[in-house]
Symmetry: C2
Subunit: 347 residues, 2 copies
């Protein structure tokens, strides 16, 4: 089946009527509509997207831009696929298709996005891995294309986003560790400029302040969010003269490497050092002692993000009335054994 013209000829009616029947317009004879639908189904006709888009000025496609940067490739561990599931569950209600736009390693994300926007292959965009300062917000705002970000940014103050509550995680972790008697609490931060790292460390600093604990930059270790990164964090902390009694890791995979390195030094997590990690993951369940971590539904975060986006699109906003278009997504602390001891004053 080539196009609507062939289908119309086959049915011996005009293409206008075929189009109206297919698109569920009310002013079509029910008998005619049935014939058209049946013939389309039988001949496998589906409207050419370019033709539709050109005429309607809309593609019915939403793009999710992802950067498969080296670090992400090793670590996003299906975070994006899970978010995607949540997004789709909302978009499918409106017959909107989600496509993922992976920015190549060797292309500048800003230029890539510019190109995608200009080509008009999507009606709206979701960007991820927001940087502390992220020019993409201005680009999208200027292009007047609806968008939302997975992750807040200093550049996104007025724009829609949803983000995991890294600040809350840092606070809850510090509170818990302080309650267990810790004062020397280390933290890992990502090695990139991704904004979540700044938020995480800021939250950590303010939490320390609340407890009257001095901030010590030596206890903030930048490392990759991977097993190797965790190994490196432990290694660096072991070198400190006045090391920490507790550590908060920003990514659960790091715990695997962290455990390994401290154990090599005869230090047992949950006994000699407290470990708390963001975020719960199946693989971390196998760690011994069980990791204290934070749980959330990434799928539901996708749902939230989709609704935020639709609420900013004129065609759908009436179905998603909401005041706030910025959501800090909560996480729940899951106590494990990795920090289940009370620190007694040793030195």
């Amino acid at each position: 089946m080539k196009g609507i013209r062939q289908l119309a000829e086959h049915l011996d009616i005009s293409i206008g009527t075929v189009s109206r029947a297919l698109n569920g317009k009310p002013d079509v004879n029910e008998e005619t509509r049935k014939r058209v639908l049946a013939a389309a189904e039988q001949l496998g006709y589906v409207a050419n997207q370019s033709g539709r888009s050109l005429r309607q000025g809309t593609t019915n496609v939403i793009g999710l831009m992802i950067q498969s940067s080296r670090e992400t490739v090793e670590n996003s561990d299906n975070f994006f696929l899970t978010v995607t599931g949540g997004l789709q569950s909302v978009f499918s209600r409106h017959k909107l298709d989600l496509i993922m736009l992976p920015c190549p390693h060797d292309e500048d994300p800003y230029e890539y996005l510019k190109r995608m926007v200009a080509r008009r292959i999507v009606d709206a965009l979701i960007i991820s891995e927001t940087q502390r300062v992220d020019k993409r917000f201005d680009l999208l705002a200027k292009a007047k294309i609806p968008f939302a970000a997975l992750g807040r940014s200093l550049s996104g103050t007025q724009h829609p986003w949803a983000d995991l509550d890294f600040d809350g995680v840092a606070n809850a972790a510090v509170d818990r560790l302080v309650a267990h008697g810790h004062r020397r609490i280390a933290v890992s931060a990502p090695s990139s400029d991704i904004n979540l790292g700044f938020i995480f460390v800021d939250g950590y600093r303010r939490a320390l302040e609340r407890h009257g604990i001095d901030y010590d930059p030596a206890l903030v270790i930048r490392a990759k969010s991977s097993e190797q990164g965790g190994y490196q964090v432990a290694d660096e902390l072991l070198r400190l003269e006045n090391g920490p009694t507790a550590v908060i890791l920003i990514y659960e995979l790091m715990a695997i490497g962290f455990y390994r390195r401290v154990m090599e030094a005869g230090i047992i997590p949950g006994r000699d050092i407290a470990v708390v990690s963001f975020r719960e993951a199946p693989r971390a369940k196998f760690l011994q002692p069980a990791l204290t971590c934070f749980r959330t539904s990434v799928h539901d975060l996708g749902v939230e993000l989709a609704e935020i986006l639709l609420s900013s699109m004129p065609a759908y906003s009436h179905e998603y009335p909401r005041k706030a278009r910025q959501t800090v997504w909560p996480l729940e602390l899951i106590p494990g054994e990795s920090d289940a001891f009370q620190l007694t004053v040793k030195k």
Copy 2:
């Protein structure tokens, strides 16, 4: 900047000339071309994709369909993002963009693909997670859209694909284990109908046969390709009266759960039971004893798949002349400690 018309008016030349200049056609005055290019850059003009596609009948977009099935979401662990990197490195040479088409959980993959094909939003398609019998091959062949599959299938006998060498892995693993004295060798198989499972088990059976070892169906354990799956495999094998002395796992994450379960029973991998696993992964590096596994470059597999696809597209085939459009991608065995012992006859 709205469209080519505005750009042409701005330059006071015809849209035809603008188009020709932008598309690098030879019959354009160099002076004119420069002016056009400069104005386009300055005003941020990029051709509307729908307009181009409709006229040219080509989108310059390649789609990679992925199924974020529950099992995949937990396990694909960036396999796809890495393949994507390889694909893009080839496609970018031809100004082809790759988009990922994630089939929603609640939609039938066949229907989803049908819809994507009919809408003509991509020039060619790559499908993944090929099933043993996979109707999508026929659909794509009938639709006359160029395609290639990541993973072979019984349905794909004449069609282009690239696939990891599961058969070779099974053979190499069995050979090695037999050389170490093992005769009771268990294997894990995926719980889904994904074709790689069948190929893996077939290779295992034929390898056993070569060594004159009877095939025992009790030693083939179906389980999810996850930590939990590995735990379950170990658990089931421990219940056997005449258990195995070695096991080959189809996914490295399983080793984490497998180790844990056998260790709970006081059985030490690499001493009491031999473990070989497919595939090398950063996180498996932290297992003790080190896992014997198989290494390959998934990025290069993506490159290969991209070239296979382009060789079947008329517009690019001359640049990728090749006889074979089906590639079995090799893996290299990386010896670890998890099977580094010689079995002495115990019973």
